[in-house]
Amino acid sequence: MNHRLAAWAPFVALVGAGCNPVAADLVELSIAGGATVDVDTICDDPCLGDDVTAEISFEEHIAVDVEATIELRQYKVEYSFDAVDPAPEYFADTLAVSVTNGQVASFVVDLAAASQREYVDDVMDGELATGTATLTFAGYDFRDELIELTVDVPILFGRYDDSDAGTGTEVTL
């Protein structure tokens, strides 16, 4: 190896990897804390699978302005099921989420609309369907460049008892 080039290599690597960070490398997304999300297929509002808590964290980076912001403007949900083929059409919605350098922001997303719920219910005839929802978020990074972030969420479509809808939580009385 050219010794002069070798001497410069660490600096080049620093510039490439450290001083010009890629937004996607600094962002972490999680949906429902990584847990499987139940999605109700026969329901009145609110339905299981709506208002699912999501969290985006923007890792602080010395080479990124402290006021740098990443914005999420929309998302789409694509589905894959073992027992539902072809999968339902994707669902999408707009979003207005921003997170600043070093911050964590939480927000809510819907994992399906009526057509996806009805479709899975018809195919499965009411039986449970295990699958994966792939959420792709689109927005702008701190250089106003388009950014797309993807996260997979385990899902379980099915008919859930209305009395359990909404929370599944315990109340201390």
Binding site: D40, T41, I42, C43, D44, D45, P46, C47, D50, D51, T53, E60, E67, R73, Q74, K76, V77, E89, Y90, F91, A92, D93, T94, S98, V99, G102, Q103, V104, A105, S106, F107, V108, D110, A113, A114, S115, R117, E118, D121, A138, G139, Y140, D144, E145, L146, E148, T167, T169, E170, V171, T172, L173
Partner: protein
């Protein structure tokens, strides 16, 4: 000025300065996936972005599609809606205090839900900040930890320390690992050696407290909360530029995390607090009301609503508009009428901190 609101307001020039000629790349077109109909089996309820009510006022409105009753009105005037027409300029600024009335188990078990409406042409920006309080008293620790040792190095006396370890009254984690450290500031350790008679500085440090860990309330329970790096909920801004706006605030039930209603119910009667306010409202960063402010382009307020949430102990009193704070026991069961504590019974007087009792 409270810290989160200050943080937002300080950031506003940056927000407003962003109106340069930067052309953002187009987002991918996913409009084929848009669908406002959320739920099969739904009976005509529009849950998309279309508001279910007319947007004629800057107002807070009790939803009429809930399975239980909630009332919102101007404070002190139950017949008046919580509604304002924002001024055209700051000289015509208007403000209203409002009260949301809800029975205590509905609040505890269902959560807190209400709607904000903003009419067309009224607000350039709307900023809101939800209520929060100091649950654990925050304070600055002592500057000096003083330890005196004898000729054998044994501790014979100490100030602001236990067993040689620095101690601050505001660090509640000494006694309960689940409790927060609310002790701010720093200290030095001065060691006096009786053998030599000399006192020397032997280190020191930061007390390590984080004030935001010591706060609670709706601002923290907001499902859309955005926290600063040091853990504070931020005020939120909606840039409307005259466009009408509708938003439903939907806070989850309290019953899965708390024993009282104080995380949402910010109403208090000064008579229950020695003519003053609950101790939790005296914190430097406390926000005692849910605040909604309509601004012009330069952050001059055109209208503001301050909301108080009051929970009622008895259904019959709620329906009759009587006494929200009835006490005593139910005639049949002997159980208390007041099932979920509010500020009156959680922190009577003006110096009790609710701490882990919330």
């Amino acid at each position: 000025m409270n810290r989160p609101l200050l943080a937002l307001l300080c950031g506003l020039p940056t927000v407003l300065a962003c109106e340069d000629e930067t052309v953002l790349p187009d987002l991918p077109d996913w409009s084929d996936g848009y669908e406002s109909d959320c739920c099969p089996g739904e009976q005509g309820t529009d849950t998309g972005t279309e508001p279910p009510i007319d947007l004629v006022d800057f107002a807070l409105v009790a939803p009429d599609d809930l399975d239980y009753d909630v009332r919102i009105h101007q404070t002190g005037a139950t017949g008046n809606a919580c509604a304002l027409t924002p001024g055209a300029t700051v000289d015509e600024y208007v403000q209203m205090d409002c009260t949301l009335e809800v029975a205590e188990l509905n609040l505890f078990g269902e959560g807190l839900i209400f709607d904000l409406t903003v009419p067309e042409g009224s607000c350039e920006h709307v900023v809101w900040m939800h209520y929060m309080y100091e649950a654990w008293e925050v304070g600055t620790g002592p500057d000096v930890v003083a330890i005196t040792v004898d000729e054998d190095g044994e501790i014979v006396s100490e100030t602001n320390a236990y067993g040689g370890e620095p101690y601050c009254d505001y660090n509640y984690s000494y006694w309960d690992v689940d409790a927060p450290n609310c002790c701010l500031g720093s200290y030095i350790v001065e060691v006096t050696d009786l053998a030599t008679g000399q006192t020397e500085v032997d280190g020191g440090g930061d007390w390590g407290g984080e004030a935001s860990d010591c706060y609670a309330g709706a601002a923290f329970e907001d499902p859309e909360v955005v926290l600063t790096a040091d853990g504070w909920p931020t005020a939120r801004i909606e840039n409307l530029h005259g466009v009408e706006f509708y938003k439903r605030f939907d806070f989850d039930l309290l019953g899965d995390q708390y024993a009282t209603n104080v995380n949402y119910a910010n109403y208090y009667d000064p008579a229950d607090h020695d003519g003053s306010v609950p101790a939790g409202y005296t914190g430097e960063w406390a926000v005692p009301t849910y605040r909604f402010v309509c601004y012009d382009t330069a952050e001059e307020p055109l209208a503001r609503i301050d909301l108080v949430v009051r929970e009622w102990n008895e259904e019959s009193e709620y329906e009759a508009g009587g006494d929200p704070d009835t006490e005593g026991t139910e005639s049949t069961t002997g159980l208390p009428l007041n099932d979920r504590q509010d500020w009156a019974d959680a922190t009577p007087g003006d110096s009790t901190w609710i701490q882990a009792a919330q």
